[in-house]
Symmetry: C2
Subunit: 286 residues, 2 copies
C-alpha cells in the first residue's frame, strides 16, 4: 500500500521516533539501507525492537534490484529505513521515482541527520555553505572537486561540513578480475585521513582555501555516549585520536561572537583541559 | 543533575525519539520552548505522553529568567524541549553557557528540523547555501540583509532556504506605552507574504538575485498529514493557498538532473494535476 522511507537517526535503535516505530511495526517487509551510513548497533537490536526481521539493503540491492524492494508494496506496506534522515545525504531518488512510476505512495518519517545535528559543535547552521564529500584517495584517483566548494564558502565567511567516505561491501577488484566476488573489509574515513587529504590538495592548488593553521572541528559518533567534539587547528586535529566511526569534519568560516563562545568549550589547549567536550560540557544522552 | 536539550521534531507529539521520551520522563521539570517554532498539537498531548506537566517557556522566560530554568538542575534532571532539533534554528547558546558556568552537564537529544527535512522537496541538501530568515516588514522597518545572502548563493548556483517569521506573544506596543502588558495574537508568515517581501526588495535593489519568474518551492506543515509542497515560479506561488502554518520557502539554484526529476512531481501545471504533492506522491506519515 505504501513505501515508507523512515529515518533512524544518528546512533542506535533508540533514535527512531514514535511515528517511525509505529510505521515500521505496521510493515510486512523492513529494509535497512546500510552503505551510505551505519548505526552503531547491530541489526539484532532493531529486530528485537521492531518485532520482525530486518533485511540489509546493500548498494547492489538498492541500485540494481530496486524493483525487488518495491515488489508487493502495492499490497502490503514496506519500510525502507535509512540512518539519519531519508533525505540526509543520499536522497534515494531512484527508489522514489520507481515507486511513483508504479503508483505506490511514498511516505516519509524524518529524523536527525549529520546535516542538522552538526550544530552540536556550536557553529550556527545558518552559516554553513555547501557541504562537501571527501572520498578515499587511491594511487590513481585523487579527486579534489571539494576544494572549489570549500574555497567559495571560505570567501563568503561560511563554514563547510565535510562528510567523510564510507566503504562498505566494496568488491575486491583483484579477486573480481579472477572471477571471484570477495568483499573488502568496511572502511570509514577518519578525521585525520580527511585532513591529510585536504592538506595535500591545498599543497597542490595553493589557492588558500585553508592551511594547517585553519580552525576546524572534528566530530565523532554524534549522539553516542562517547561522542567527541574537538576544535583546533588542522595541524592540532591531525594528532587527535577520535576513535571509532563515524567521523565528520567542519572547516570553520568567520566566527560570530556566540559561535566563538560555544566553540571555546571544545578548543584544544583551553584551561578546562581535555578539549574533548565530554568531561564537563555538552554530552550526549546515553 | 543534567540539563537535557531535547528535540521534538517537526509536527506533533509522535515525533519525539525513544531516547528523547525516556529522557523527558526522567526529568522533574519539563519546559517547552514555544517562540521560535511551534508543534501542531496542544501541550496537553505532550503532557499525556510524558506523564507530567509541561511549562511553556516564552521568549521572556528564556532570555530573562534562564536562571529559573536552571534552578535545581544541579539536583534533579531538567528538560528543555525544542521543536525541531535543539540546534535547528536558534542554538539557545545563552542557556547552555549559563548551565556550563554553573557546572550543570548538558545533554542533547537530536531530532529532525526544517534545516534537514527540507530535503523532502527533492532538492539536495548538499546544494543549499546559507539559509536566511525573513522577518515581517513594518511601516518603518523593512530589513533586507537576506538579499545579499540569496544573491551570493544564486551566483554559486546554490539553493536558499528561507525561514519565515513567527511572532508569538509579542507585546502590543501601543498598550505598553499606556503601561499595560497586552499580547498581540500570534502571527506566522505565509509563503505568499514572504514572496511579496522578496519581490519588493528585488524591486528596490535590482541586482537580479531573483525575479517573479524564478523557481521556488513552497513547503507547508512538514511531516503533517496534510503537508503541502508546491514548486513553481514565485509569481505562481503567490497565488497558492498553503493553509495553516508553519511555512517555509526554498529559492532554487541550478538544478541537477535528479533534482529536476524529483521537483517535477511538485511542479504546478504538470499533467498529474494538483501540484500539491499530496495526491499520489510523497506523503507524510499520519
Amino acid at each position: 500500500m505504501v513505501l515508507y522511507l523512515i529515518g533512524l537517526g544518528l546512533f542506535n535503535e533508540q533514535d527512531i521516533t514514535l511515528r517511525g516505530l509505529e510505521a515500521v511495526r505496521r510493515c510486512s517487509r523492513v529494509y535497512l539501507e546500510a552503505y551510505t551510513s551505519i548505526l552503531l548497533c547491530g541489526k539484532e537490536k532493531l529486530e528485537a525492537l521492531y518485532g520482525k526481521d530486518v533485511i540489509i539493503a546493500d548498494r547492489e540491492m538498492v541500485e540494481s534490484r530496486a524493483e525487488e524492494i518495491l515488489d508487493g508494496a502495492d499490497a502490503q506496506d514496506v519500510a525502507f529505513c535509512v540512518v539519519g534522515d531519508p533525505f540526509g545525504a543520499t536522497t534515494h531518488t531512484d527508489l522514489q521515482l520507481r515507486a511513483r512510476e508504479r503508483g505506490i505512495p511514498v511516505r516519509v518519517v524524518h529524523n536527525a541527520s549529520v546535516m542538522n545535528a552538526v550544530g552540536a559543535c556550536g557553529l550556527s547552521l545558518y552559516r554553513f555553505g555547501e557541504a562537501v564529500s571527501i572520498v578515499f584517495f587511491t594511487d590513481t584517483w585523487r579527486p579534489d572537486s571539494f576544494y572549489d566548494k570549500i574555497l567559495a564558502n571560505r570567501r563568503l565567511g561560511l563554514h563547510t561540513l565535510c562528510l567523510l567516505d564510507i566503504k562498505v561491501k566494496e568488491p575486491d577488484l583483484a579477486a573480481l578480475a579472477r572471477g571471484r566476488v570477495v568483499y573488502e573489509p568496511p572502511r570509514y574515513m577518519t578525521i585525520n585521513t580527511a585532513i591529510q587529504q585536504l592538506l595535500e590538495v591545498e599543497e597542490r592548488r595553493k589557492e588558500g582555501a585553508f592551511s594547517n593553521s585553519s580552525l576546524g572541528v572534528g566530530i565523532a559518533r554524534l549522539q553516542a555516549d562517547d561522542q567527541q567534539i574537538v576544535a583546533g587547528t588542522l595541524e592540532q586535529l591531525l594528532e587527535v585520536d577520535f576513535g571509532a566511526p563515524l567521523h565528520c569534519l567542519v572547516l570553520a568560516g568567520d566566527l560570530h561572537v556566540t559561535e566563538r563562545e560555544m566553540l571555546e568549550f571544545y578548543m584544544m589547549g583551553t584551561t578546562d583541559g581535555c578539549g574533548c567536550g565530554n568531561a564537563s560540557g555538552t554530552q550526549q544522552e546515553s
